[in-house]
Symmetry: C2
Subunit: 647 residues, 2 copies
C-alpha cells in the first residue's frame, strides 16, 4: 500500500490506493486549510508534489504554471499505487515543532463481528425453532390412534422429544397435512426458553422441508425499524431493510409517543402504524431473500420499553410518570399473528424482556448480542442516542441506567446540526496559528451542516488547540474573523456562505457546545454514578462497547477529549452497531441465549438516575471539557500541559 | 305411610299418600286391565274397596249402585293417609297361585348424587381457577418494578405461588386495574393440569372479589346441549338449561353431521351454529343465576369426539372413515373467547380429552364423574343412546368400545316409538290368562306411543308371560284378538284406536321387537367382547353405572330379562344421568380430577368392535331373549322353568 509523506511536518501515513489526499492528511494529523468539505470550490487546500505523483487535483484555481510545478488541490487528488511526498504551504512564521506536535491520532472503534462459527463449534447454534423430517407409520385398524398422538408419540419414541404440545390451530390442519404425502412430514418444533418446559409443535408440512428454516430479527427503534431475514441453517443474513417507524408523525421521542397513545384510540392507532411499518419490512425482506412466508418460523423482536409496549398494545401511560413503572418486563411466548404481524399463524414471536421503563429490550438485546454477560472483564456498554443507556458489569453482575442525553448526538439542538448524511461535516482540523479550518464532509461535497461525530471532533480539536476553554467558551482574543459575536452569542464560522450548500455561514455556537457538553455530561455522569453505586471507578473499566447509530464514526480519542468516554486504550473499545438488531438476530440463532436472557434481565440492577442523590453532583462536575477533575483524563492532561504551558 | 293390600293376590305395598292406585298396583306387581294409560276413558280398571277408602275414582262408567258398593276406577283413584284393602275382579277361571306368583319387582336404579362434601373433606375441592385477594405495596422511587413483576413477586413471596405466567391480554389491562383501588386487587389464577407446570394469572380485578368465582359446565350432546352455572365457592349448581343443538338441522347423528362438515364452508357453519346454541345457554344461565359475566372464570366442556371437533373447528372427516382416526385426543388449555364463546377473555376453556373416534370426551367425563376410575371394583359403565359406549374396568385398567345400538332406545325404528314425553307408555303389565294389558303413560293421559323404557318393560313382561318367545316372536296360539297379523307382520295391540290420543291402534310389532333385540344385542355383545378381550366374564362385574337420557326410568329387572344388562343385584346399579355434564361439572370443582383425566384417558384401551373378530359371534348369540345361553341369566332361568314347566 502506498505511503504518503507530508512536509514540513515529516509525517507519513500508509493509505489505500485511491485515497483522497485531504483524508490522508486528516489521518496523519496534518492540517490543510479546506473549508468546502472537499468539494474543490474554496481552492484553499493547495499542496505541492515533491516526489511521486497523484491522480487529479487540477483545477482552474491553480495557474498552468503552478500546475506544471506540481501544485494540486488536495481535496481533488487521490493517491496512486506509488509512494508520494507532499509539501504543504504553511505560514512562514510557524514553528515546525508545532507542526510536528503529536495530536491525538484519529481512531475509530473496532467493529464487532458476531462469531457464529464459534457458536456452532460450542454446540450453541441451536435455533429456537427446529425442523425434523418424520416418516410416520400409517394408521390401520390395529393402530388408529389420533393424528396428534401419532405425531407426538413418534417424536417421543424416535426423536427423544418430550413434553410436546400441539396447538389447536395445528390440530385443525393436521389430518389433511399428514395424509398429503402418506404421513411423510416435516414437523417444526418451537423450543422452550427453559429446558424441561414444553416444546410446541407449531407446524407440520408434507414431505421433507428441513432445508428451509428461516427467521426474522427486528429492532423496533423509535425512529427507525430494521429487519433481517436469517437463514437458520447457515446463520446467514439473507436480506436486510430499515424504514422509518410510521409512528414518527405522532412525535419524535418516546414521551410524545406515550402522550399520543394516551389520547382516545391513540394506543390502537400507534400499534397499527408501527405494525404497518414492520409488515412492510417483513414483506420486503421475505421477497428480497426469495423465501416462502410459510418457511419463516419465528420473529425475534427488540425495542425499548415504550416501543415494545406500543407494539404489543400495552398502555404505556405509567412509563412517563414517576416512579416510571413499565407494565411488564417479560412477555410470554406469543404467536406473530396475534400481534398483527403478517406471518403465517405458526410463526413464534419472541419479544426481548425489559429491565425498566428506560432500559428496554433493545438494551437487553445489546447486552446479549455483545456477549458482555458472558465475560469476566468489567465492561461499559453505551447505547448513545437521544436517550443514552448505560450498562456496567460482567457475567457476575450488571448495573444499568438511562439518561436523557438530548438530541445533540443526532444533530438536534445544534444550530447547524444534522444526521450523518451527505454534506455533513464529519471531520475537522484547525490551523494552530491562523485557526483556519480543515473540513471533511460525508460525500466530499460542500457542507450543509455538522453531524454528531463531526461535532465531537470539532469541539475536541478546538479545545485541544485552545480555541475553546474547558467551559466551552471561545477565546475572544485569537484575532481570527471566524470567531465572532452575533446577537450576543459567540460562534466560530466553520464555512463561509459561498463555500456551503445552504447559502449561509455554517457556524458552531457556544450554545451548541453547551448542548454537547450537557449531553456528554449526562452520559459520563451516568457512568460515574453507576460505578459509584457499585463501589468502582472509571479506571476499573476493562472494555467498552459502543452501540447506536453514530458510534461507528466517532473518533474515540476525540470522544475522550471532550469527556464523553473515559480515557482508555482505544483498542478496548468495540463498536457493535445496532446492538438491538444484533441481539434480536442472536436470539433466533441460539436458544441458549434465550435461556440466559431471563436471568440476565433479572441480574440487571436498574438505577433511576433522577432518584439517585449523587447523580446531580456528578452531572455538574461533568459539565466541563473534559471534566472538572482533569486527573480523570491523565493522557490529555499531559498533552495539554505540554502544548499550553501557560494555561 | 299408608299400606295398600290387593286381593285376591294378597299383596301389600307401602305407598306415598296421594299415589295413584293403578301405579300402586304396578308397583305391587298386580295386574289390572287398563289400556287408556290412566286417563279414565277405557273404564276397564274397576276395583272394589273392601276396607278403608280412596279419594276419587268415580266415573259415569260405574253405575250409582256399584259406586255405592265401593267400586271405583283404579286409574282415577288416589290413596289417602289411611291403609286400604282393594279387591280386583279377576277371571273366575284364574288360579290364585298364578296371581300370587312372584314376578320381577319393579326396580329402577339408585340415582347417583355426587358427594361434594366428601371432596371438600378430602381436600380435593380445589377448583382449577382460584381467586386471591392481594394488598400489593404501591410503587415508589425505590421500588419501581414492572406492574406484572410486582404482582408475580408478591404472589411468590406471600402466597408461595411459583411458575406464574401473565398473559399479554392481562398485561394490557394490568396498569390501570392495579391503580384503580390503590394496588388492592383480586388475582384469579388458573391452575395447571399437572402439578409443577405453569400457573396462569388470568384476571386481576380491583378490590376484594374473592366471594365471586363461577364456572360453567357444559355437555355438548349431538341432540341436546346442557349447561350449568356453578358456584366454585359452594360447589352448588346455581342455574341449568338445556337446548337443542343448533346442528340438528344438518343431520340427526354424528355421521350426517360429519358429511355436512365436509361440504365447502360446512365446518365453519357447523361450528357457528353449535356455538350459537352454547352462547344462548351461557347467556341464559348467567342471567338466571344473576352473576356477572366477568366473574365466570372457566368453562368445562365435554362432548363426543365429533361434537368436540366440530365445536373446535377441527375437520372430522377421518372420524367416519376406516380406520376411524380422530384429529387429537388432547387439546391444550384454551381461552373461551378464541373458540367463539361469549365469555370474558380471561375465561379458561377446559375441553375433555377423547379416547377414540367413538369414545369421546362425554364418556371420559362420565368415567371421571362416576368415580369408576378410583374404585377397586370391576365396573361396567354404559352410556346408552343411539350410540352406546361401554367402559369396563376400575382404577387399574379400563377397556372401552362404542357400538351403534340404533335409535330403538330413543323410540326410533319402533312403529309407535317416541321419546319419554307425555303420553308415552312407560309401564306395562299383562293378564296371564286373558293377555289384556295394563298400561301406564307419562302424565297418566291416553297413550300416544311407547318410549324406550316402556318398550323394554313391555317386551320383558311379554317374554316372561310367554307371549313372545326367545326369538321375539308372538305366540300365535294364545287366542287373544290383541295378537294379530297385519300385512304379513305379527303384532300385539297395546291400545285400541278409541283409547288413544292418535285415533289409531297402538301396536307393538315383531319388527319393533327385532329392532330392540338388535339394539340390546349390540350393547350386550359389546360388553361380552370387551370382557373376553381382557380375559373376564359378565359374572365378574361388581357394579354398573348407567348413563344417558332414558336410564333413570329403566326397570332394571326388565332390562336384565331382555338381556340388555347382565343379571345382577339391582343394588349394584347406579344411574348417573347426564354423565357428560356431571364430569364437566366435576372438572371445575376439583383440579385433582383434571390431573387424573389425562392418565385415565391414556389408560382407556379402545377396542374397535368392527375390527374385533369375536364381536360378530357375540352379537349373533345375543340376538335372543335374553341370550342364546340362558345360563348367563340364572335367576331368570329359574323363574322361567318354574312358571313355564312345559317350555
Amino acid at each position: 500500500m502506498p505511503k504518503v509523506t507530508f512536509l514540513p511536518h515529516d509525517k507519513t501515513v500508509t493509505v489505500s490506493e485511491g485515497e483522497n489526499l485531504l483524508r490522508a492528511a486528516m489521518e496523519a494529523g496534518v492540517h490543510i486549510n479546506a473549508s468546502c468539505g472537499g468539494d474543490g470550490v474554496c481552492g484553499k487546500c493547495r499542496i505541492l508534489i515533491e516526489e511521486g505523483h497523484l491522480e487529479g487535483g487540477l483545477s482552474d484555481r491553480i495557474s498552468a504554471e503552478d500546475q506544471a510545478k506540481g501544485y494540486r488541490l488536495a481535496c481533488q487528488s487521490t493517491v496512486t499505487d506509488t509512494d508520494v511526498v507532499i509539501r504543504i504551504p504553511v505560514e512562514s512564521s510557524i514553528d515546525v515543532s508545532v507542526l510536528k506536535r503529536q495530536a491525538a491520532p484519529r481512531r475509530t472503534a473496532r467493529i464487532h463481528q458476531p462469531d457464529f462459527e464459534s457458536l456452532r463449534e460450542q454446540g450453541l447454534f441451536v435455533p429456537p425453532v427446529e425442523e425434523i423430517y418424520l416418516e410416520l407409520p400409517e394408521p390401520s385398524a390395529a393402530d388408529n390412534q389420533a393424528d396428534a398422538s401419532r405425531l407426538v408419540n413418534f417424536l417421543t419414541l424416535n426423536h427423544d422429544e418430550h413434553r410436546l404440545v400441539v396447538r389447536l390451530s395445528l390440530i385443525r390442519k393436521l389430518p389433511d397435512v399428514l395424509r398429503e404425502d402418506n404421513f411423510r412430514v416435516t414437523a417444526t418444533l418451537a423450543r422452550p426458553v427453559q429446558p424441561g418446559r414444553k416444546t410446541h409443535v407449531i407446524k407440520v408440512q408434507p414431505g421433507d422441508t428441513t432445508d428451509r428454516n428461516y427467521a426474522i430479527a427486528m429492532d423496533i427503534g423509535t425512529t427507525t425499524i430494521y429487519g433481517q431475514l436469517i437463514d437458520l441453517i447457515s446463520g446467514e443474513v439473507l436480506a436486510e431493510k430499515g424504514d422509518f417507524n410510521g409512528q414518527i408523525s405522532y412525535g419524535e421521542d418516546v414521551i410524545t409517543r406515550i402522550m399520543a397513545a394516551e389520547k382516545p384510540g391513540g394506543l390502537d392507532k400507534l400499534h397499527e402504524v408501527v405494525t404497518a411499518t414492520m409488515n412492510k419490512i417483513i414483506a420486503a425482506i421475505v421477497k428480497q431473500a426469495g423465501v416462502r412466508l410459510d418457511d419463516v418460523n419465528a420473529i425475534s423482536l427488540a425495542g425499548n420499553t415504550t416501543m415494545t409496549q406500543l407494539f404489543l398494545k400495552v398502555n404505556p401511560r405509567y412509563i412517563r410518570r414517576s416512579p416510571y413503572v413499565p407494565a411488564s418486563n417479560i412477555y410470554p411466548p406469543l404467536q406473530a399473528v396475534e400481534l398483527g404481524l403478517e406471518l403465517e399463524d405458526h410463526a413464534a414471536a419472541l419479544v426481548y424482556p425489559q429491565v425498566s421503563s428506560y432500559v428496554g429490550g433493545d438494551i437487553v438485546a445489546g447486552v446479549m448480542g455483545s456477549g458482555m454477560y458472558r465475560t469476566d472483564r468489567l465492561t461499559l456498554f453505551m447505547d448513545i442516542g437521544t436517550n443514552a443507556e448505560i450498562v456496567i458489569g460482567n457475567k457476575d453482575w450488571m448495573a444499568c441506567a438511562a439518561c436523557s442525553a438530548g438530541p445533540a448526538f443526532e444533530g438536534g439542538g445544534i444550530e447547524f446540526g444534522m444526521r450523518a448524511a451527505r454534506g455533513a461535516i464529519e471531520d475537522f482540523s484547525i490551523d494552530p496559528l491562523t485557526y483556519e479550518p480543515m473540513l471533511l464532509t460525508i460525500g466530499s461535497v460542500r457542507p450543509k451542516g455538522i453531524c454528531g461525530s463531526g461535532l465531537i471532533t470539532t469541539v475536541a480539536v478546538m479545545f485541544e488547540a485552545g480555541v475553546i476553554n474547558n467551559q466551552g467558551k471561545f477565546d475572544r482574543e485569537l484575532g481570527t474573523e471566524r470567531i465572532r459575536e452575533r446577537e450576543g452569542v459567540w460562534e466560530y464560522v466553520l464555512a463561509w456562505q459561498d463555500e456551503t450548500q445552504i447559502d449561509r455561514d455554517i457556524v458552531l455556537t457556544e450554545i451548541d457546545i453547551e448542548n454537547l457538553i450537557r449531553a456528554k455530561g449526562a452520559i459520563y455522569s451516568g457512568c460515574m454514578t453507576l460505578l459509584e453505586e457499585v463501589g468502582m471507578g472509571m479506571g476499573d473499566i476493562e472494555q467498552i462497547y459502543l452501540a447506536g447509530g453514530f458510534g461507528s464514526y466517532v473518533d474515540l480519542e476525540k470522544a475522550m477529549i471532550i469527556g464523553l468516554l473515559p480515557e482508555t486504550d482505544p483498542d478496548k473499545v468495540t463498536y457493535i452497531g445496532n446492538a438491538s438488531l444484533l441481539g434480536a438476530r442472536m436470539a433466533v440463532l441460539t436458544n441458549r441465549l434465550r435461556q440466559d436472557v431471563v436471568n440476565v434481565t433479572r441480574m440487571m440492577t436498574n438505577f433511576e438516575l433522577s432518584e439517585t442523590a449523587s447523580y446531580m453532583d456528578h452531572y455538574v462536575a461533568a459539565l466541563f471539557l473534559p471534566h472538572t477533575d482533569l486527573n480523570q483524563f491523565p493522557k490529555l492532561k499531559t498533552r495539554l500541559l505540554s502544548s499550553r504551558p501557560n494555561s
